[in-house]
């Protein structure tokens, strides 16, 4: 079944989020902090009458920046500060995620199974893989990633 996805970059990897409801993309901003929340919660954003929790996806996925290939970097690579916040809806949950940058919208016909080698990503948070112009796209399972914690 063909579905629409929003593709975005995080630490050099391309991820996709299925578009099920409203989606908003905004420049990164400091959210209203919530002390004693989970460590990967950046805070709350009040947008068009909805209070969205904003999750730092880099921290939630415990990602490491990808090793540069073909040259020797000076010192360890640092994660770039997230540039954008995407507000999404999945299974009636409204939430925001921080990403390095938004790539594009894409239609994807069918997801491929999760490979054995997921390069440091926990496979339980991956819904499936997709390929666009031979680029690998990791489709995340946000419900499992964000709403089944703790």
């Amino acid at each position: 079944m063909t579905a629409g996805y929003l593709l975005f970059l995080l630490t050099g990897r391309i991820f996709g989020a299925e578009l099920r409801g409203a989606v908003e993309i905004m420049p990164w901003r400091q959210a209203r902090r919530v002390p004693l929340s989970y460590s990967y919660v950046e805070g709350l954003i009040d947008y068009r009458g909805v209070i969205y929790p904003v999750f730092n996806l880099f921290q939630r996925l415990s990602l490491k920046p990808l090793e540069p290939i073909g040259f020797i970097a000076e010192g360890p690579a640092q994660p770039a500060a997230p540039q954008s916040i995407i507000l999404l809806e999945e299974n009636k949950m409204l939430f925001g995620i921080t990403v390095d940058s938004v790539v594009k919208m894409a239609k994807i016909d069918e997801l491929s199974p999760v490979p054995q080698q997921t390069r440091g990503l926990d496979p339980q948070y991956i819904k499936g893989m997709a390929y666009d112009d031979n680029q690998e796209i990791i489709i995340l399972d946000f419900e499992r990633l964000l709403f089944h914690a703790g």
């Binding site: 209203r32 002390p35 004693l36 989970y38 709350l44 209070i51 929790p53 999750f55 709403f147 703790g150």
Partner: protein
């Protein structure tokens, strides 16, 4: 009552606030965890003083306003940066979105929208 901490607003029901004062001499005797600064005497009773900045893992010196707050577990002192205003509202607080906090740690009763900002309503009974 709205108080501020590190530039952001928190609310506490005014009927829970027994006194707004300045920090006074504190007694430390090592039986309290590190989020407490010591004990102060208020109306003949000694009560623990919570450093709200430390509890909330915010950096900086303890606040310069001391609140005496009535909680379900007894009166406590609470150090905050400032008391900014009294908010009179009939509105119910909005719920905290899911998946932000560990559900077993009830630090907040909810959220108020106030002057374009989000103010977190503290659960004074759940802070201890």
């Amino acid at each position: 009552m709205i108080l501020s901490l590190d530039g952001e607003g928190y609310a506490i029901p005014i009927d829970r606030v027994a006194e707004i004062t300045v920090p006074r001499e504190m007694r430390r005797n090592g039986d309290l965890t590190e989020v407490f600064e010591g004990r102060v005497e208020f109306r003949g009773k000694w009560m623990p003083v919570l450093n709200l900045r430390k509890l909330f893992k915010l950096s900086g010196a303890p606040g310069s306003v001391l609140l005496i707050v009535k909680t379900g577990k007894g009166d406590i002192g609470m150090l905050v940066d400032a008391v900014t205003e009294i908010l009179d509202t009939d509105k119910k607080p909005l719920p905290m979105p899911r998946a932000v906090l560990n559900p077993s740690l009830p630090y907040y009763h909810g959220i108020f929208r106030h002057k374009g900002n989000l103010v977190l309503l503290l659960n004074e009974d759940g802070l201890l």
